[in-house]
Subunit: 286 residues, 2 copies
């Protein structure tokens, strides 16, 4: 088989990829969805927060009359683990151009009782119906080309069992935000990377919900170690991303009182600011 | 009576002020609160979004075991009007240092049915229990001193019936963000002002929820007119504000597709970044 044809046969597409299979939910009854959370999107055993947003986002896209997340606000209650889960959704208000919904993901304790992991409010619309008027004054992050950026596979041997999600992603970090991996954190609350899915699937609005929480914590560059759990995260999806790699730039400016904010921007290959998010996370001091 | 004593007798305090009286809620049953929304905090007849956050915030402070809002995420469904309202709260998860709750404000249609105006998720904690570690790298906005800034009372006659809330606030805008009021919008998505309550009450965490949505829309400086309804707003309260005036700086960098984001920062008199928020709002194009 000619090489080009076999490459085309194996590259994942939107709708047919690891990400689609692992975020797929099964409707059990109106508004209620089941999923077995994959172990493939965990970091130190906990399911990644952005991946959870994508799962909830897929359920809400089915439950609401509009299919694109415009703004998703999530409060994280307890860490999610690989295994069975149920998503319960509610249509809060349906309008002509926007609908608002609520969704919770539950898992089970040893007695089989539901334990709520995360609750979100989200407003959905139709990204393709938005007018073309673009007056973005923000500028894309200054980052080296992807060939001059580095992923986990380029460095010393990975932390054993640490980060299954790293195998699902093509993450190439800006060397200016990689000091932490070499024992020399920059002291600046910044993290930047080229982002893609490992199987080559292009990004779509649900993948943007993953992208905003997919980079290492800025806390690492601020010299802190350990887990930085997300308390709350709000993401805005502003545009359907163009095919090709994304640039993700995360900034922290207010590390204080044991908490920090992480502001993420996602830029597509056409230079559009396709998503923005802010999360509040708790750090371990001293 | 000596002048100083009479001034002290009339200056409002936290707990005894217009803001406290107008955001007070009456518990009807566990988790359910009633309020008659004051007409004093409206803009063109609609109750201000930040004021609504403060009302919901007060109810949640009563309903949850922790009393300070840390992060509040609100989805605005329909505009609120002065008049009777009910707030229904739910404790979602209570923990040792953080609790999460949900709250909705309803008003009534002509048949007396409840119509949901706004739904929020919020996580609460104890701001006074936070460690003193402050490594904020953000800098306060460069603004002229308050004597060189201007409020509605300094300009041409106010728009009749426009903005009752203006009488409740001491808002002095940075002249660099006032061009819109003189028919010469700057074209930059920026709005900055000194903020206080008109009766002199100092700010507290609930007043910060008001402050983040109290300035004129950045859309005015971007040359747009008309209402800029908030779809979603998330605020982080990071510190109990010091007594004295606040500086509020709002920035828009992503006006596109008929929507824009407004990022607000609130700085207190001690130079602390006490609150941050981002809202997604819809603009009227052309």
């Amino acid at each position: 088989m000619p090489e080009a044809a076999s490459a085309a046969a194996t590259r994942a597409t939107i709708g047919d990829s690891e990400f689609d299979r692992d975020t797929a939910v099964t409707r059990r009854e109106p508004g209620v969805y089941a999923i077995d959370l994959s172990a493939g999107w965990t970091i130190f055993g906990a399911v990644n927060g952005g991946f959870l947003l994508a799962v909830l986002g897929r359920a809400l896209a089915d439950a609401l009359p509009h299919s694109d997340p415009f703004t998703v606000s999530a409060h994280y209650l307890t860490a999610s683990r690989p295994g069975p889960a149920v998503v319960r959704t509610e249509a809060v208000r349906t309008g002509r151009t926007l609908s608002t919904g609520q969704a919770s993901l539950f898992q089970y304790d040893e007695e089989g009782n539901e334990v709520e992991r995360i609750r979100v409010l989200a407003s959905y619309g139709d990204l393709d119906a938005l007018p073309d008027d673009v007056r973005t004054s923000a500028e894309p992050p200054a980052m080296p080309p992807v060939e001059q950026c580095f992923g986990a596979e380029d460095g010393p041997s990975p932390v054993s069992g640490g980060s299954a999600i790293a195998e699902r992603l093509l993450l190439k970090l800006d060397p200016a935000t990689l000091g932490w991996a070499l024992g020399q954190p920059s002291g600046k609350g910044e993290m930047r990377a080229w982002f893609g899915l490992a199987d080559g699937r292009d990004a779509d609005p649900l993948a943007l919900l993953l992208a905003v929480d997919a980079l290492p914590p800025t806390a690492f560059e601020l010299g802190m170690k350990g887990w930085v759990p997300t308390i709350e995260l709000t993401a805005h999806v502003r545009c359907r991303p163009a095919p090709g790699p994304l640039r993700v730039s995360v900034t922290t400016r207010n590390l204080a009182g044991g908490f920090l904010e992480e502001d993420a921007e996602v830029w597509d290959s056409a230079g559009r600011l396709v998503a923005q998010s802010r999360q509040l996370a708790r750090v371990q001091l001293g």
